[in-house]
Amino acid sequence: MLKKILRAFFLAAIVILGVGTGVESFRSSAEIHSNDESVINWDDRLSNLIALIPLERGMVGYLSNEDIPGAAFDPDDASGEYILTQYAVAPLVLIRGAEQDWNLLNLDPETYEKWIQENEDRYRLVGSGGGIYLARRVAQ
């Protein structure tokens, strides 16, 4: 008898808690913060530069603050931007560094200034705003 009462109690608790949680998940779902804009904006920011890359297949370099010793960066932002850049340039494969014929630079102004002083004669650059550049390597 006790077992039967325990079972009934347990079952009723699951039903009540399940209904409560279901309704709560519905209520809280309206408050979820959207992250779509970050994906769409990143695609849009890069689209002008990607359109200039004449490759249907191959590799594109990617240089960010993370790749430059001493440059400041937020690890989460850096990782997110790297992922979104690969997502945007598909079907081209993104390779770390600026050693490909075509390279995307994602640098803050200070880091960009330092980098360009050392590399100006090696690349032709097109900017897209927001610290994003397309760098085409010039044959030496």
Partner: protein, 458 residues
């Protein structure tokens, strides 16, 4: 575009449903049709991914996959029509619903609707899914769709390890094939795929429990899946954990049907579903290895390899394609770095960290008011376990799930990543993967609400 995206999934879903219908020709009540539709949704999406992969291997860059799917659908429709003509229709008994059943079903409907609408809301806010979706599945789908003949670049070894180009491609293939059919990339496709797998997992759990146990037990299953905080939210993230959870559940459900009806087709179906699990995510391979190992042991115990061979035959199509994918297309896994694993295995602090994380989740994760959902399930099993019936599928399923957990433990042990980060990033999702299967086995083994609240004869 959302309507056309949904329409683009209709052929694989209907083809899968027709296969389920052909397997359960004698079952035609509305409840049975619901079960067939749920099972068939995942089955059809899995078959579609396999077929698209074969098409890419031989005819990459040519857009005729819609015709392949249409031909499959028409063949299955013809087979179903011919079988139907030969069958004598058995009238299904009229369904009588008692008051306790009605109460539980009403609660289940509330849980289902509120959770599902919650997931739709989530997806409206995050139409492009979450981090892993851009990084792995939708990224690979873009490569396949945009790359044409060069679709293999989706799995290039040049790509950063973070993109997991070695992951099995079921989700990416389905997304890319729908984009090919629609002629454009739309965020609705991976979103709808997530919905379909979520609905299929709920429907399969409900339908299988209703068929194998009782209607109210199906309702309790629905409440346990939709009414916990950690499970259904995964469906909106467009990642592979919920599809994998579906295939694990589908494999075990087919196994239970085999043990009840002794039809060889169900055992082959169980193997096929396990193969699709391996085609969905690396953890699915773990499930396949665990289930093959357990069934082989059971076969040795029984001194008959027939069951094992049927299961293996079912898994073989996916396994062969996966072998080709892993050996010829995908880069090696980051877990196979080539170094010695012994230092990892012998590191006591790693064991302690992993064990503590598992213990913490078991005791407090995913449930209500800080009580872990797996603790609730364990208590449910102990309190409701009812003798009678065939214990073999319960034992086999529990053994498979235990080996799956041991596999997760070992994977963490040899993880090349920072272990604290890796556990924090993925443990919850590992428990999501086996959750529908655990709920199903516990409820199958337990007394039903009808037994606890018997209806009085009028």
């Amino acid at each position: 575009m959302s309507f056309f995206s949904l329409l683009a999934f209709s052929l694989p879903v209907l083809s899968g449903t027709l296969i389920a219908h052909l397997l359960w020709l004698d079952k035609n009540s509305p409840l049975d049709l619901f079960f067939k539709f749920s099972l068939g949704t995942g089955l059809g999406l899995g078959i579609s991914a396999l077929l698209y992969f074969v098409c890419l291997l031989f005819f990459a860059g040519r857009s005729f996959f819609l015709y392949v799917e249409a031909a499959l659908f028409l063949s299955l429709l013809t087979a179903a029509y011919l079988k139907r003509k030969r069958m004598v229709r058995a009238s299904s008994p009229r369904l009588k619903i008692t008051l306790p059943q009605a109460a539980i079903l009403l609660a289940a409907v509330i849980v289902f609707l509120s959770s599902f609408i919650g997931m739709v809301n989530y997806s409206r806010q995050r139409a492009r899914g979450d981090w892993d979706a851009w990084m792995i599945y939708n990224r690979a789908a873009r490569f396949i769709f945009r790359g044409g003949e060069n679709w293999r670049d989706a799995f290039s070894s040049e790509m950063g390890v973070i993109f997991h180009a070695d992951y099995p491609p079921l989700l990416a293939l389905n997304t890319a094939s729908r984009w090919e059919i629609l002629g454009e990339e739309t965020a609705f496709v991976p979103m709808i795929q997530g919905f379909l797998f979520s609905l299929a997992a709920l429907g399969l759990s409900f339908g299988a429990l209703a068929e194998l146990k009782s209607l109210a037990q199906g309702g309790v299953g629905l409440i346990l899946l939709g009414g916990v905080p950690f499970f259904l939210g995964e469906g909106g993230r467009q990642t592979a954990d919920l599809p994998l959870a579906f295939y694990l559940l589908a494999s075990l459900v087919s196994l239970f049907f085999y043990f009840r009806d002794r039809r060889a087709a169900f055992l082959a179906l169980a193997g096929f579903m396990a193969g699709l699990a391996a085609w969905t995510k690396n953890e699915g391979m773990l499930f396949l290895f665990a289930s093959v190992g357990i069934l082989f042991t059971a076969a040795l115990w029984k001194r008959s390899l027939l069951d094992f061979l049927l299961y293996f035959a079912g898994a073989l199509p996916s396994l062969l394609l996966l072998f080709y994918f892993k050996s010829q297309i995908a880069p090696p896994s980051e877990f196979l770095g080539g170094g010695s694993l012994f230092p990892y295995l012998a590191d006591g602090s790693r064991h302690q960290l992993i064990f503590s994380a598992f213990e913490e989740f078991f005791l407090h994760g995913g449930g209500w008011f800080g009580i872990g959902i797996y603790l609730v399930l364990s208590a449910y099993f102990l309190l409701f376990y009812s003798r009678g019936g065939n214990p073999a599928p319960i034992l086999i399923s529990l053994a498979i799930l235990v080996f799956q957990m041991i596999g997760y433990y070992v994977v963490y042990l040899i993880s090349p990543y920072d272990l604290t980060w890796h556990i924090g990033y993925s443990l919850n999702r590992l428990f999501v993967q086996i959750y529908p299967s655990a709920v199903f086995v516990v409820l199958y083994a337990g007394a039903t609400p009808e037994m606890i609240f018997p209806s009085r004869p009028k």
